[in-house]
Symmetry: C2
Subunit: 196 residues, 2 copies
């Protein structure tokens, strides 16, 4: 499978890398991210949903002002996000999710998700939002939508370190690859809303 | 009135400024921003609403990797936001707003709001979200919540350059100063939801 919209960071051997987009500091999840951004753009184009990736949170330390209206950030650091990466509006509903890729064929490691992101998903779920994870097992080429409720049920009251692929196959919803949108996760949300 | 949580950027005479928070590149709106962040934190503490300011959108150009897990952004630029600054969830409703301060005593200049932010507010309003502006007239010490519908009604079909204070006094909702939350804008949203 090709990922035409995937963005790759070249880091090999160099200490300074020039990149041309709002990249996360880890390679993890970049391709899924690009496909989700493209899908969200498509949903906006057809006036279906207004869901955006939040900008990468950054702590700015030093800014140069070479001229009155121009500012160049000269020193900044990536910071841990307080919330999930994506949120927005679909059919009057608040949508909120985190997206991750894993190369594992057997499980999704939970240290991919920060504790306050877990807490955030819990809050959103309890207050009437639609919260979920999108997890892509890249080696298997399987992408799942796992609702926050099922995610939280699994990790609750245990010291689980990962979620096995079988749990995804049983409880999560497989998202089929498409052309546009590439990752049609709203189809699953739509089915959920129609059942309600 | 004092703004204990206000953050000020020191720019006088220096070309390089060191700042310790996620600041916008313009001084406009900082104090209101700090008060809103504080209010949103309070709403989260009492488990009432989960509304966050989005990180400042930045285009990253150069990143140094002094060690494997450490990344320093060495060159980046502030970019124009595609959406409003704040969004989140309250009582199952999608909340979305932009916040601005003005020193003017007479009007709010529309070039404070980017065209795609206006478009975004329109989309959110049409798709069942609760969209609005919070505008503080700092000199008058008056802070208003103006629903997107009333905002869009005013600017529609004209080439208006600003919204006079009288329009706010007539159509918008005055937000009283408080201790915690400092800017209790959800009170107005709550009144709206109870009427519905």
């Amino acid at each position: 499978m090709n990922y035409p919209s995937g963005i790759k960071k070249s880091t090999s051997g160099k200490k300074t890398t020039t990149i041309d987009s709002n990249l996360s500091h880890k390679n993890r999840g970049m391709t899924l991210e690009a496909e989700l951004n493209d899908s969200n753009e498509y949903y906006r184009e057809i006036n279906q949903a207004f869901i955006y990736k939040k900008p990468t949170p950054i702590k700015i330390v030093k800014v140069d002002y070479p001229s009155r209206d121009k500012a160049t950030i000269k020193e900044a650091y990536f910071t841990v996000p307080s919330t999930t990466d994506y949120n927005g509006l679909y059919k009057g509903k608040y949508i909120d999710f985190e997206a991750k890729e894993t190369k594992s064929k057997t499980s999704f490691t939970l240290n991919n998700i920060h504790p306050h992101q877990i807490n955030h998903l819990k809050n959103i779920n309890e207050h009437g939002g639609i919260a979920f994870l999108i997890v892509r097992f890249t080696t298997l080429n399987e992408t799942y939508l796992l609702f926050a409720k099922d995610f939280l049920d699994y990790i609750e009251d245990t010291n689980k370190k990962s979620i096995p692929i079988d749990y995804f196959r049983e409880k999560a919803h497989l998202i089929k690859d498409g052309y546009r949108p590439r990752v049609d996760y709203l189809k699953i949300i739509n089915d959920l809303l129609e059942v309600k």
